[in-house]
């Protein structure tokens, strides 16, 4: 079996839970419904031999609905194939389903997604922040959070202050123009 066949098997088995399947340069991304995400992932693990959860990450598509997207990268060491599964999480719910029961390594990945974007995972045994300190009031990887940060204060634990950006952030412009057009420049600050 290869990735294509695994994707086809999923497509047949979960016909009504799959929103779309995209093949880009032999990397297959499948968009699935949130309600069936655990079921599908558990099928991937048990029946399709995806024994390795590479990563769980989340994306903030500010302005779109559903706003957040949780991305699972799974891999099979047994057969050497890879799949990417995505599921939308709405702004109002902000809750995905934990897969810690399938792959214990999901624990920290889900905590990171929670820490950075504020998405909780139903069934997670220990839903705490992992990078920022417990009690930090913001979710810094959200698109509406300023790069410079915000003021926060927790006596004896930590504090934070916005940083001086001096006209930044300085971002590159990916295009085929000459270097001086591409190199990092200040852009209008989006906050």
């Amino acid at each position: 079996m290869n990735s294509n066949e695994a994707a086809d098997t999923l497509g047949v088995k979960f016909e009504h839970s799959i929103i779309s399947t995209v093949n880009f340069r032999n990397e297959i991304s499948i968009e699935i419904k949130l309600e069936q995400s655990f079921e599908i992932l558990s099928y991937c693990k048990e029946k399709l031999d995806f024994d390795y959860l590479v990563d769980i990450t989340a994306v903030d598509n500010l302005g779109n609905e559903p706003r957040y997207e949780v991305v699972y990268e799974i891999y099979s060491y047994q057969h050497g194939y890879h799949l990417r599964l995505k599921t939308g999480v709405t702004e109002s719910e902000r809750e995905a389903i934990s897969v810690v029961d399938l792959w214990p390594t999901a624990n920290w990945h889900e905590r990171e997604a929670y820490d950075m974007l504020g998405i909780t995972f139903k069934g997670h045994p220990d839903m705490r922040r992992i990078l920022m300190w417990e009690g930090y009031p913001y979710y810094p990887l959200r698109k509406d959070f300023p790069l410079a940060g915000k003021t926060s204060e927790m006596p004896d634990v930590a504090f934070s202050e916005p940083v001086p950006l001096n006209g930044g952030p300085f971002v590159t412009s990916p295009c085929s123009a000459s270097t001086d057009k591409r190199e990092p420049r200040s852009r209008e600050f989006i906050s």
Partner: protein, 175 residues
């Protein structure tokens, strides 16, 4: 060097004889030549700090090789690396646990100013929390730069007048 702190001249040929010096000069000579660092290696600069301690650069030529991982036993905290807000108060706590006299070196761009990390998670310079004696530029600074920074600190210690100041404080208390 200020005129009231003469350097100590030690002549092994007259060992056993009497040497005259000022108490401050003697104290400073002893302090500055056995600086025990507290290696606060927090990021990539910590690797350069380790290189400084290893054989090629050999920090022990200057009497600073006794890296102590206990704040109680160290004199100079070398903050080597990116200080995140999460780590910042831990660094402060360790500094507070160090016995006086104590000094701080901010090694590298990150420890001095936050460096390239203009971000929500990084303290913009350890000098917002601790009194820094020597800043070392570089990303990371070369081991030679760290050694020079430590030697600058030695020079600084040699100008201190802790005993004179104590005496002054005592006299003003009594009067």
């Amino acid at each position: 060097m200020p005129k009231n702190t003469a350097p100590v001249a030690y002549d092994s040929k007259i060992e056993g004889n009497v040497t005259f010096t000022k108490l401050d000069a003697a104290i400073n000579w002893m302090r500055s030549n056995s600086l025990w660092p507290m290696p606060m290696g927090l990021a990539c600069c910590g690797i350069e700090l380790m290189a400084t301690g290893a054989s090629r650069f050999d920090i022990s030529r200057f009497g600073m090789e006794v890296m102590r991982f206990s704040p109680r036993q160290s004199d100079v905290m070398i903050v080597a690396g990116t200080v995140t807000y999460k780590m910042a108060l831990a660094v402060k706590r360790i500094y507070d646990q160090m016995a006086e006299p104590k000094w701080v070196i901010a090694m590298g761009a990150c420890a001095s100013s936050g460096g390239m990390y203009r971000s929500y998670a990084v303290l913009q310079g350890i000098d917002q929390l601790l009194p820094v004696d020597v800043y070392i530029s570089g990303c990371p600074p070369r081991p030679e730069a760290l050694l020079e920074g430590l030697m600058k600190l030695q020079k600084k210690i040699e100008t201190e007048q802790s005993f004179v100041e104590q005496k002054k404080a005592l006299l003003s208390e009594l009067s």
